[in-house]
């Protein structure tokens, strides 16, 4: 008989892993895979407040992501500095501020995630939100590929680039906010980057690439929880190690 907590963990990590892998394929093609890292770190003050006041870490993460994005946007308007520089300033400051208040006993949970406190409600909400984000990304996928391929041609074809980029960025924020539930704020880049890279190695067309990312991400989530259960290591790193294993496998069987 499978433990109820483990079943909930499998449901959550598989669904979040799948949507992160699916979105990751778009992020990889836009050379944005590493962005998942700074965005994950940005959530740390939000996670800290959530842990201190006892509410859901994803809610804290979403609030912090929204604030940080507005802050970066305002700084860019005011200073005209490159976005990556401003992101670096905001994300490192976030980490520094978070560590002023983060209780020592909560550091591990904040950094690499914790699935031990899962409830049926949080799991159901996470799964439903993952499904919703999946369909949102599916709706914009082709247009985002077009924009990635050539922004000028997309503009000349009257594709509303700002609208699609905004939806894409909202999806990224939602996936990062969900992702910290399983891998914490430190490892979020991995859940979007590795499954997409695995899929890139094994796919020969766009459909295989997109859904391959979802399969690789979901499978890494499932395998991660199996490892977590049998070897008593934290679920977050277990998910990432599983994902890395799948990636190594894909390098052996890479298709051209």
């Amino acid at each position: 008989m499978v433990d109820e907590k483990i079943l909930l963990a499998i449901l959550m990590t598989t669904s979040i892993g799948a949507v992160a892998g699916y979105l990751g394929t778009l992020m990889l093609s836009k050379r944005m895979s590493l962005v998942g890292g700074p965005l994950g770190h940005l959530t740390l003050p939000g996670i800290t407040i959530a842990l201190l006041y006892g509410f859901d870490v994803s809610i804290g993460a979403f609030i912090m992501l929204t604030l940080a994005i507005i802050l970066i946007w305002l700084f860019e308007k005011r200073t005209k500095l490159p976005l990556e520089t401003l992101t670096a300033i905001v994300f490192t400051s976030s980490v520094a501020v978070a560590f002023l208040y983060l209780p020592d006993e909560e550091v591990e949970q904040a950094l690499i995630g914790d699935i031990s406190q899962l409830t049926l409600i949080t799991t159901t909400l996470s799964v439903l939100l993952s499904i919703a984000v999946f369909f949102l990304v599916k709706k914009i996928y082709k247009k985002m590929v077009f924009i990635t391929f050539s922004e000028d041609i997309a503009k000349s074809e009257k594709i509303n680039i700002d609208k699609y980029n905004l939806i894409y960025l909202i999806a990224v924020a939602l996936v990062i906010g969900l992702g910290i539930r399983i891998v914490g704020s430190l490892l979020t880049a991995a859940i979007v980057a590795i499954p997409a890279a695995t899929s890139r190695n094994l796919s020969i067309n766009l459909k295989q690439y997109a859904y391959g990312g979802a399969i690789a991400g979901g499978l890494a989530g499932l395998l991660g929880i199996v490892i977590f259960q049998h070897f008593s290591i934290s679920a977050g790193p277990a998910v990432i190690i599983s994902s890395t294993g799948l990636f190594l496998f894909s390098t052996v069987f890479k298709r051209t």
Binding site: S29, K142, V145, F146, T148, F149, S150, D152, I153, K155, S156, E157, R200, S203, I204, N205, L206, K207, Q208, Y209, T256
Partner: protein, 240 residues
């Protein structure tokens, strides 16, 4: 702010450009440029590197902000940027089928499109990254023509390919121009293309240095002024 492109009705003109000025990062890239393009005309934009040729096409398409008037009287334009598709063909594992699906084109139309530029149907499932340069260049042209535009804006469609390939691409373009009565605005460095295919030519180096039929516009003096050095002047049979 992007300026709305005004559209003309019932006119023999495809495009009228009046006092076009484009400024990017506080620098004037194009200044006070005016010209017209008739329907079915081939206009070649000629100029040295950094003269504002690509900027001109982007302004005409409304992709970048500008001052002045750009008035179109066409139904459907298609744009092929310089070398852009070539550089990005390996970003994603796109097959030829996937590439067309970005424009939501059905299978039958894809086959017709491939055939129109002399490509085999068997390329349908092939990854675009695995096509030869010539095949990819043909595909780019077929792709930009697949939704039946009446106007083409091509920016250096043959850069990076050899003389034989260049000949083929321009012959193909000429064929489509004849068959579909297309209006073509073409950016190129290649003077022989001007003599071979252009009805009119603009010499651009920030401002319009010359404008008219090749025989009127491309004088030795104008070319020297455009490129800053003496350019060998040679005419093609079309000019008589």
């Amino acid at each position: 702010m992007f300026k709305k492109i005004i559209t003309m009705e019932n006119n023999h003109l495809a495009l009228r450009v009046k006092n076009l000025t484009v400024e990017l990062n506080n620098q004037k890239i194009i200044e006070d440029l005016s010209f017209e393009v008739k329907k079915g005309e081939t206009l070649v934009v000629l100029g040295p590197n950094g003269a504002g040729k690509t900027t001109l096409l982007r302004a005409l398409l409304g992709i970048i902000p500008y001052k002045g008037e750009v008035i179109w009287s066409v139904k459907n334009t298609s744009y092929l940027p310089p070398n852009e598709l070539m550089q990005r063909k390996e970003i994603l594992p796109l097959t030829v089928e996937d590439f067309y699906s970005l424009k939501e084109i059905g299978k039958e139309k894809i086959f017709q499109s491939l055939k129109s530029v002399g490509l085999e149907e068997s390329l349908f499932k092939k990854r675009i990254a695995n096509l030869s340069t010539g095949q990819f260049q043909r595909l780019g042209i077929a792709w930009s023509l697949v939704d039946n535009p009446d106007t083409l804006l091509f920016d250096e469609p043959t850069s990076g390919i050899d003389i034989g390939g260049t000949e083929t691409i321009y012959s193909l373009l000429h064929e489509f121009w004849e068959k579909q009565k297309l209006t073509i605005i073409l950016v190129t460095h290649d003077l022989s293309v001007v003599w071979e295919h252009a009805d009119n030519v603009i010499c651009l180096n920030k401002t319009g240095l010359c404008y008219g039929t090749p025989s009127v516009a491309l004088t030795t003096e104008n070319l020297k002024q455009l490129y800053g050095v003496g350019v060998k002047y040679y005419k093609h049979k079309r000019d008589g």
